[in-house]
Amino acid sequence: MNGAQDLGGMMGFGPVRPEPEHLRFHAAWEKRALAVTLAAGALGQWNIDASRHARETLPPGEYLTSGYYEIWIKGLEKLLLARGLVTAEELREGRMRAPGPALPPLRAEAVEPALMRGSPYDRPATAPARFAVGAAVRTRHFHTPEHTRLPRYARGRRGVVDRVQGVFVFPDSNAHGRGEAPQWLYTVRFAAAELWGEGADPDLTVSIDAWESYLEA
């Protein structure tokens, strides 16, 4: 969707503010926000693509003025409500009104194995890749209110396939509960002039990771 999350090429946010490497959190609540987000995700009631869609559907003004852990918490609250795990009254009061569906929580002893295992997103290929390294491609030009990982700045642009990565879960489907629908994934590289036009840096190239259905010959 053309939401506030799709930031590439926007202007006016001011300078980047570097931070020292050892500074990991800016407030104690950020640690708790990280932990509740990961623990709730482990309940298995949504996938990473649905999480991203919950965050990007925040109103643009709110998204752009929220820190990232704040975006996480607001997205998490939306998912918990949408799945019927909590009610709006419960969120407001911070207290249970009635039990929700019984789901086993992530236990302390399972934390490390779960984190170290991760969740691979590659899937077996069932068809050959349509494009090879070096192929000239054009990204499709579309505007969808649903979740997509093709950023606006790279839609309808000519590029070259730089890597063929394998077959991966397709977020545009997976975010909406329509299944993993795996597709070939490519790295597609663009000259800056193709993306940004006049005055673009002649010594700059930018690549995205693009699923096969984003691409045309």
């Binding site: 930031l7 090429g9 800016h26 407030a27 609540w29 990280l34 302390a108 991760g118």
Partner: protein, 224 residues
Amino acid sequence: MTGHHHGHAHEHEHEHEHEHEGSELSGMALRVRALESLLVEKGYADPAALDALIEIYETRIGPRNGARVVARAWADPAFRDHLRRDATAAIHGMGFTGRQGEHMVAVENTPEEHNLVVCTLCSCYPWPVLGLPPAWYKAPAYRSRAVMDPRGVLAEFGVALPEGTRIRVWDSTAETRYLVIPMRPAGTEGWSEERLAALVSRDSMIGTALARQPGAAPMAEAPA
């Protein structure tokens, strides 16, 4: 968090100071506390598991992991070759596995081309090797400009590349996670991997810094 609070937060490193400001920050603190107690009460979160999650990301998973990967790539040609062929296997083989590092690609800086990594759409970042992303990596200023004006962004990090150096920006739009291998500084021949790793900052593995020169000021205390 507004821009004002954001900037303010950078000036302090003591978390507790922010809990008493009577601002949006304490509003978020209350909101997260309410959410946490609700999830615990409903049986959806185990307080001990929450503490374990925080402990792991505070003490064990951080950019020193990635620095060890870079140092080994510099010191061991066979490992560098493995990293080029299959970064996922090479990095997992060092024990740096798991969430947000399931699919890895290592991109090497050269005198001709400098690599920079961004996630314009959210905050994709290689957690097992770099830990949690810094606030600037997730904020609009970096995400908006890294793909259009990376030289301007680098200048804000105090980095000026030699004239004619090409820049390659990797926008992490899928589950592939990118680790930049900075150029090895001259004058480090024969150094141990441990010594080399101390030259590798987090930012140099994102592409917003270069590796430290030998003899430069050591980096601030950095666990994991």
